[in-house]
Symmetry: C2
Subunit: 388 residues, 2 copies
């Protein structure tokens, strides 16, 4: 059975990337690997749209998220955490693990945060003028943690607007862009993202195992005075190394070689073109779902990286995903945590092509129909094709 | 130019492992990946020689080392750190990063620690009876951190003897076996190793990017009460997951698939046979060096995983390694830190074959001769062949 992978990470890995990773391994302290690292660093900056260093860690995205908390903050520091889904909650869990007090902004799953709420809190807590302290005195807020694309809900958060709010404050803006980088537009420097966290297995089209962090000057200053404990994810150690095209510890050599190959796609096809292809694909998926009379989970704040769709009344969501995967070889994602069985998710990032998506929608139609859902067979695929 | 990799990590990756990693990627929350993880877990236990869980992290070995410190200890805990090289020093740096006070046992580079020194300290500090406190009162020692094979010096430390000393105490024995697992004999349970840390890119024959930790019952009890902060490397989270053939965060899927393939070699060839092949190869390398009138750096405590050799008087060690690599495609390692330029290191673990080693010794002879070192050409290769 041919398998189609349409999950929001890992995403399919292009053949040329798999081939590059399958070449005999080389040692990491060699001019040959340094050359690769230099290229990767330059190409990552382009995809991040930043002039600053991008640090590379051998870990999944969560590792880089942890490093962000421990490298920016010190005991007693306060933060704001936007929790609009499972991954926003992870910022909160990380702050908890390191004893960082934070003000949570809990957003209903499926909705995006209103940037004005962040502005209000920053102003009330004296991080933004006027210096009006509400409630008991609280230290200035040092960081605003948010997500760009909430993979768990398919929601996109307006980072550009949040950037404008946070920029004049003393706080840094930290964005989990793990499911966003290379998938949807991100302008790290222009939008004022101080720390942009990304992962390898999403828009960047390589297997999981690498994570990335870009650091603004404002963030770097915080790093230099941060007192939380760290070692493996030390930003200072990684920055010192990457400036010499090196890594502080043995890196995941073959993943970096794969990344080098994958990043060439962005250069060859053009970043704008890659992103607009994803956007078109996502539009097509949304139109297909509407044609099938399926309800989008995040109609007002959808992301072009992953589309979350409500499982229709009377259909077993778990069984739907399982049947598509096990009987037809089409892997989409179900819901996580409180959304288990209630939504399914189709990714439109990385190496996912219109043909893959047509197969996916066609299979979805077949399985929905077999499960008793009533609709006119073929309208989903037709709506997708029409969009393109 | 054909390249030969004889560095002590990364080591060459067998073709069948590279091929397995180059197959189209699969999602990690699937029965298909669960089956792989289940097999990997069972096969790792066999290589570790343990009945306990082996946790798998997507990181290099240093990440698992950090996790060991943060998951075992609490603020105020004390430790012993054996520093017999760069990697022993890393345990000390990790303790420093988390504010753990430790008693260093500094061993001259090239020598192994005398287990009796550990016994003496444990006894003096009241961790072993009789309860005799020397100096100002100090909390009981909670952990003894050591290295099995010190990659930086080619030294092997007698873990079996240290295990006998630490076992009756309340402290846990933590062993960095990153350059040892799958390369030299390790009997985790029998020797009383409470935490055995390993990496993927050495004896296990896969690229860097995975690290492993085995946990004894004694270690698990410490984990359950540990108060140092952690998240990505949380042993509790990983243990809970692995028991359900799952991982808490997105794992490095294709590295684990490669590992699954690599571990089959140990089953097919037999762990004992694999280890005795490495031993024979290392013996051959040592005999070749002696025949070339080169001095071993650790004549009294050599490891069968990597052989460190003194660069002879008047020869530029850096140039030797560079010439072998750039002119002949034979990658060996130079010295690290204070040994830079003073030693070179040849690995005999993983997928390094006698033919690779013959090419290596032959090339070493050619380059040494070109650099003006006087010896009878061919005696090195001959001594190696004779050993085998």
């Amino acid at each position: 059975m041919k398998n189609y992978l349409l999950t929001p990470g890992p995403t399919p890995v292009p053949k040329e990337v798999l081939d590059a990773m399958a070449r005999p391994i080389i040692h990491h302290r060699t001019p040959q690997f340094q050359t690769i690292l230099k290229e990767v660093e330059a190409d990552l900056k382009h995809v991040f749209q930043t002039k600053n260093n991008v640090l590379i860690f051998s870990s999944s995205g969560t590792g880089a998220m942890e490093g962000t908390v421990t490298n920016l903050l010190s005991p007693g520091d306060k933060a704001i955490v936007v929790r609009a889904g499972k991954f926003g909650e992870r910022w909160g869990e990380l702050c908890d693990a390191y004893g960082i007090e934070f003000i949570p902004i809990d957003v209903e799953w499926g909705k995006a945060v209103d940037p004005e709420v962040i502005k209000k809190i920053l102003t009330e807590k004296g991080t933004l003028p006027p210096q009006k302290l509400a409630g008991p005195p609280m230290a200035e807020i040092k960081a605003v943690f948010t997500t760009l694309c909430e993979t768990s809900t398919g929601v996109s958060i307006d980072i550009e607007a949040i950037g404008k709010i946070v920029k004049p404050s003393n706080a840094v803006l930290v964005v989990d862009a793990i499911s966003a980088l290379g998938a949807v537009p991100i302008k790290t420097d222009e939008w004022g993202i101080d720390v942009c966290v990304a992962g390898s297995q999403k828009g960047l089209m390589i297997p999981p195992g690498l994570s990335f962090v870009s650091l603004s000057q404002k963030a770097l200053e915080m790093v230099s005075s941060s007192k939380l404990p760290k070692y493996y994810f030390s930003f200072s150690a990684h920055k010192k190394s990457i400036e010499k095209d090196d890594t502080p510890y043995t890196p995941a050599v073959n993943l970096i070689i794969g990344l080098n190959e994958a990043l060439k796609v962005f250069k060859k096809d053009g970043l704008e073109n890659v992103l607009s292809k994803h956007k078109k694909n996502a539009q097509g998926v949304r139109n297909a779902m509407k044609a099938l009379k399926l309800e989008l989970f995040a109609p007002d704040a959808y992301s072009d990286a992953v589309t979350a769709v409500k499982v229709p009344e009377g259909i077993d969501g778990g069984k739907l995903v399982k049947t598509m995967r096990d009987k037809y070889g089409v892997a989409i994602a179900g819901g996580q945590a409180q959304l288990k069985g209630k939504i399914f998710r189709i990714a439109t990032m990385g190496h996912i092509t219109p043909s893959d998506l047509k197969v996916c929608i066609d299979t979805l139609e077949t399985v929905l129909s077999d499960m008793g859902y009533k609709f006119e067979k073929g309208v989903g695929v037709k709506a997708f094709e029409k969009t393109l």
